[in-house]
């Protein structure tokens, strides 16, 4: 029988759907009667969803276009010189 420690050790793989069917079934069987593991699983899943959908550390459009223009200018300036994209 799977213990809470076993479930916790595989939690990340379980959330990522990177487990074999056998292991999934064992974890699901455990969670059916363990409300603590169920709560941890549910809140971990919600945590990951919030991170993914948070749009955290967004680059502002101003910075984005300023940096893009600067890169454009610099690589074009280089192209007029002797070196372009090199094979190094």
């Amino acid at each position: 029988m799977f213990s809470c420690e076993n479930v916790l050790a595989e939690l990340s793989n379980y959330v990522d759907d990177e487990l074999s069917q056998e292991l999934r079934k064992q974890i699901e069987a455990h969670m059916r009667h363990c409300s603590t593991c169920r709560a941890i699983y549910d809140s971990t899943r919600k945590t990951l969803r919030i991170i993914t959908e948070s749009g955290s550390f967004e680059l502002s459009p101003d910075v984005s276009s300023r940096v893009a223009s600067s890169i454009r200018a610099k690589i074009r300036a280089k192209q007029t010189g002797p070196a372009g994209p090199s094979g190094s």
Binding site: N6, L48, I51, S88
Partner: protein, 411 residues
């Protein structure tokens, strides 16, 4: 392992072979027998990627079954054994793959699936007998013309693989236990092997993302090639596509918006300088992100030597993280907090995580790199990455539980 002596190759010189090895943990004889001409291997891998692996009207399962029934009828032991293992590796549910190969008509797959495989077998065995009625019959089983087209092409691909294998005399070399072992994929060690690895073999811990790395389908490939041939506009587009991602990578390392902004330009200028040497062994974005990791690390070294990236292996054996706040979150945080509040909270808590967990979580969960890509970017093994991810995610959950969870728990 085959009739021809392949060239003595160093896989490092051939990106496709490296990818194949990364996917299976070894270079199957099918490809090893062709190393005299890596360009042919490239072309074949591209073909397999588009026809078999890329999502289409047919499911991967249907395509693998077509491959199995035709290979079996063509008596290609190599292809049957290889794809039986691949079906298991993918965790495809259903009858044993050997049973499908042996006689799909006696399995419990749905009648429409049987009709599709019957058609594939007919085309494979008696190509000149195929009539318009056969197509009509498939349409009556609710298959569209796209399904039918893909079926025909799959039969063609199978014949191709079977005949190449016959001609080169490739000796079967697929064995699930060898593959998972070589990939360093863990089975749970405190359980008896028998229970976890039943004869069905479904528990081999390899998922599709690992296998599909055989065929790195890089959506940037065209822009990269155009940049390499001197089209500067193509590089502008690459900057546009990946600026946000690179900024986030730099934030993950430096935790400083000014440093991240400064580093952004350097990363792209370095990428441009070296793009001529990029050969597609990994996806362009993986390569670019690796440049960003180095840029961020360099900035940190200049600024302070305190915050370690923890990239060294061997630091993964800390005691397991124990969640303390285990109350259920009664509702969805998205319904209780504004997007701005959530964003602020996530940013705040991410920045508090120790570097190695923060970087792993930000690459995997914020930027949505796959597990394998994240491990590749950080130059650590998949098991080490998974251990960081588990801890980082649990730490973050704990931090959010104290604020988000409390209100949610009281609903």
């Amino acid at each position: 392992m085959s009739y021809l002596n392949g060239a003595p190759v160093d896989e490092k010189d051939f990106p496709t072979l490296l990818d194949i090895k990364a996917a299976f943990g070894f270079i199957p004889n099918f490809f090893r027998a062709q190393t005299l001409r890596p360009d042919l291997i490239d072309a074949e891998v591209g073909l397999i990627g588009t026809i078999l692996l890329k999502e289409g009207a047919l499911t991967r399962k249907q395509k693998e079954y077509i491959f199995l029934v035709c290979s079996a009828d063509n008596l290609s032991t190599y292809c049957v054994t290889a794809h039986c293992e691949i079906v298991r590796m993918l965790g495809i549910e259903g009858p044993e793959p050997e049973q499908i190969a042996l006689d799909h008509t006696v399995t419990n797959i749905p009648p429409a699936e049987k009709a599709l495989l019957d058609f594939a077998v007919k085309l494979n065995n008696h190509p000149r007998d195929v009539r318009r009625e056969d197509i009509v019959a498939l349409r009556e089983c609710s298959f569209g013309d796209e399904h039918i087209l893909e079926t025909v092409i799959m039969v063609g691909l199978t014949k191709f693989a079977n005949f190449v294998s016959f001609g080169l005399g490739t000796v079967p070399d697929f064995d699930s236990s060898t593959i998972s072992g070589q990939l360093g994929l863990d089975r749970v060690s405190d359980q008896p092997k028998k229970e976890l690895n039943p004869s069905s073999g479904n528990s081999v811990l390899i998922n599709e993302s690992v296998v599909s790395r055989v065929l790195v389908i890089d959506e940037d490939a065209d822009l990269v090639t155009r940049t390499q041939t001197g089209e500067l506009d193509a590089f502008d587009e690459l900057v546009h596509r990946h600026q946000q991602r690179i900024y986030r990578t730099l934030m993950a390392i430096t935790r400083n918006p000014d440093e991240a902004e400064d580093g952004l330009q350097n990363v792209f200028l370095k990428a441009f300088q070296h793009i001529g040497g990029f050969q597609g062994a990994s996806k362009f974005v993986t390569w670019l992100t690796r440049i960003a990791i180095n840029e961020g690390a360099e900035r940190l070294r200049v600024r302070t030597a305190v915050d370690s990236l923890g990239e060294e292996e061997g630091l993964e054996d800390e005691a397991p993280f124990r969640p303390r706040d285990v109350r259920a979150w009664g509702g969805n945080p998205e319904e209780m907090y504004s997007k701005a509040e959530l964003k602020h909270k996530v940013e705040q808590e991410l920045l508090k995580l120790p570097a190695k967990y923060r970087i792993a979580v930000m690459l995997r969960d914020l930027q949505q790199f796959t597990t394998e890509e994240t491990a590749e970017i950080l130059k650590i093994g998949v098991p080490a990455l998974k251990s960081r991810l588990l801890r980082g995610r649990l730490m973050l959950r704990e931090a959010l539980a104290s604020s988000l969870g409390r209100r949610a728990a009281n609903v």
